[in-house]
Amino acid sequence: MNATIKRIAINVGFGYSPGLNTVISGAVLAANELGWEVVGIRDGFEGLLFRDRYPDRGLVLLTPELVETLDPSSNILGTAVRNDPFHVRIINAESLVEEVDRSDHLLKTLQAEGIDAVISVVGTQGLSILYKLHRKGLNTICIPRSVENDIATTALSFGFNSTLSFVTELLDRAKQAAQSARQVGVVEVLGEHSGWLALQAGIAVCADAVLIPEIPYDLQKVATKLQDKFRTGRSHGLVIVAEGALSVDKEAVVASANPLKASLSPLATDYQGSHVIQRSGHAAQTVALQLQRLINQETYPLVLGDWVKGGAPTAVDRQLGLSYGAGAVRALHAGQTGVMVNFQPPNLSFVPLMEAINKIRIVPADSEFVQIARSLGICLGG
């Protein structure tokens, strides 16, 4: 299909992460080299689903000159509240609210605009929606974006590195606060199903304990670790807990967080692109309360919620964003469609969307990071 490509579009699925403009720039610059025109769709697919709401009819022409002026930390296109053309909520002519399938309409609009393919920067749920659109005939390349680095197949999702850096910086501050208060700070970080963020940031700040969803925790072990340190004169502690961390003791789970999560798809996301309805704080609270019973020091919970996804991208994410953007164009040029760009250092490759969805990239028990943490004396609770 590459011979026929003249014009492509790019959009960003719901949720955010640092440095989305770098992905957009990467795609625009690479497409320009091939003589392709690139337009951006505003707010996910909403720019094309509700064209009347936008002065520019929902499409932005993205030229190399324009992208040169973009601030790498922001996102010129915006994101959708939910990026799902199959269930578009509308108010019909009778003032009734209903959800309608606008996917056909979307595909027709793309065709009428002469758009030959769409590059989408999406999280886990966005991948499924793009896969559905691909089954209906859309030429699409997806770019994985996840601040939790939980998208399967790719080694590094876009946005993770920046969030990791920011969380590390905040944990340093939390540690100082714990030190001066002579207490144990229990800090919850994002990670409903995979503990990469907690584990890697926990290693970076040499936390006393890191609790992740992949390793059910026994708080007695954490308590013993902390008491050992207190015996040597230490009076503070830092425990990192991923929001999806679970106790080995099933009864110890905070009841109210449970029924909602029970039957959810692990990949279901809320309107901000987080994994479940806003429930943040439960993990930190549970651990802080229960840990306090087992040790002499006081504990306090702290939550680093969704807002850590904001801010400026790191050098790694800037490079990665440009590479993912350019990689998506390379995929189209090579005649690929219905694939996700996959980064397995040092290579960029492409995997069919079906292989990327319905999986979560979790921390394996024998992961190098797990071993590093253990050898640094960081308690993993199990």
């Binding site: 929606i129 559905k132 039957s263």
Partner: protein, 324 residues
């Protein structure tokens, strides 16, 4: 009643027996599926979509090793899956499972997969309602249609209500009135008591919290009060802190209803969070907002405003809880 109207089918979510808050006496409440609002506090998310819909209770799944039936055709590729690791229970990709229905549910031996919503005829519904008839006679109760929005299925609702009347039951509906007037005209002639929601007075705020403004709703209410002077109307407000638990709202509802003598009462239903897990069963995480319950003192204060308007000296004993 003709056979053709008792054969009429509608989409029923649930029939609940021995209800005491949905009209006079002991009642049987028939919940119809489909709603034309999207209230952010809705405790019945399963009643919103006007089609049968797949739900999943993971605690009933026996896993891929023991069963795994839903992982094969006819279930569509990618709709059901298992994650790596010990837990081999099914997970649902709700975006790919949107076409799954009866076929998938029938496969599941444990009932982990099930459907919300069932097509029923007027006769089937009434036969079930009839089982409680002795209680109605003693308590002055009857049948209540609720939802969702029961007036979204106007022909079915009208036929149900008419048949209930024929069988000698008192009839009531719970409605938000966000339907075309032509629906109201069909349904209301067969209703004795109309319990109707005044959720928010300001049109823009109504749109923000319920998905659409309330112009059609208010016009319908006014017209209903005027067109059906012999019907009993009871206004209600589900009281949600920070949304509509203010005096202004209560007073404007009172100003709206007091000129009409057939609106005999105005009830406040303090919000209580329940139904949360059902959002999970439907895979719909992003809709429910985390509301708290109103404080008893503020409910009491607002109720006394209503009592005053209705010329009641002592506060009415109202212990109702929100049943959308």
């Amino acid at each position: 009643m003709t056979n053709s109207s008792t054969n009429q089918t509608g989409l029923v979510l649930n029939i609940q027996h021995f209800c005491t808050h949905d009209g006079p006496g002991i009642r049987t409440t028939v919940f119809l599926k489909g709603c034309s609002l999207r209230c952010k506090w809705c405790s019945n998310p399963e009643s919103i979509h006007p089609k049968p819909e797949l739900a999943y209770n993971i605690s009933k799944c026996i896993g891929k090793k023991q069963c795994g039936l839903c992982l094969k055709p006819p279930c569509s590729e990618g709709a059901f899956y298992v994650l790596e690791g010990e837990d081999d229970r099914i997970r649902i990709n709700w975006d790919l499972a949107s076409d799954c229905g009866q076929d998938c549910v029938d496969l599941c031996p444990t009932g982990a997969l099930y459907l919300f919503g069932q097509a029923m005829t007027v006769e089937q519904v009434l036969d079930e309602v009839e089982q409680d008839s002795s209680f109605y006679r003693e308590s002055g109760g009857g049948m209540t249609l609720s939802g969702g929005e029961c007036q979204l299925q106007p022909d079915f609702s009208a036929a149900l209500l008419q048949e209930a009347h024929q069988r000698g039951f008192n009839t009531a509906i719970e409605t938000a009135f966000n339907v075309p007037w032509s629906h109201v005209e069909k349904v209301l002639p067969h209703v004795d008591v109309v319990l109707h929601d005044h959720k928010l007075t300001d049109p823009e705020r109504h749109k923000k919290w319920c998905g659409v403004d309330n112009r059609q709703i208010l016009a319908n209410m006014k017209r209903a009060y005027e067109t059906f002077p012999d019907k009993t109307f009871i206004a209600r407000t589900p009281l949600i802190p920070g949304v509509n638990d203010d005096e202004d709202h209560i007073r404007s509802v009172l100003a709206f209803i007091r000129p009409y003598h057939n609106v005999i009462d105005y009830e406040l239903l303090p919000y209580h969070r329940f139904g949360e897990s059902k959002y999970g069963f439907l895979g719909r995480v992003y809709e429910l907002k985390d509301f708290t319950s109103p404080l008893p003192e503020s409910v009491q204060r607002l109720r006394s405003i209503i009592d005053e308007a209705f010329g009641r000296s002592s506060p009415l004993e109202q212990t109702h809880e929100l049943k959308p």
